[in-house]
Symmetry: C2
Subunit: 66 residues, 2 copies
């Protein structure tokens, strides 16, 4: 699953540390999501969506064939 987190964060001029604080997760979690190590949980995806004021579908793109 791809995501636009890094770009959205850059647009708002936030560091990973600032974003992680705003999302109440560790910096490593933000980094791991940005670098594609894993996908956020659904609750975290909602928090990201609210923070950036964008629907989940505009932040995360599912390349799932199913």
């Amino acid at each position: 699953m791809k995501n636009r987190l890094k770009v959205l964060r850059a647009e708002r001029d936030l560091t990973q540390a600032q974003l992680s604080a705003a999302l109440a997760v560790s910096r490593q979690t933000v980094n791991a999501i940005e670098t594609g190590k894993f996908d956020p949980s659904l609750p975290l995806a909602f928090r990201i969506s609210r923070l950036f004021e964008l629907p989940i579908e505009e932040i995360f793109q599912d390349g799932d064939p199913l």
Copy 2:
């Protein structure tokens, strides 16, 4: 996190077994999500969203204060 899965499934007259097959998960997973035992992963939420042709936000409602 609340969801409208049970209602959406009923509207389409699907059994938990049929829905789980369509989503490629076990019936227990569908049941657990419907009964609020846990939230789906983001990839699974996308599959549910596509199957019901509804945005994730219209299926899952986040009651997260954060």
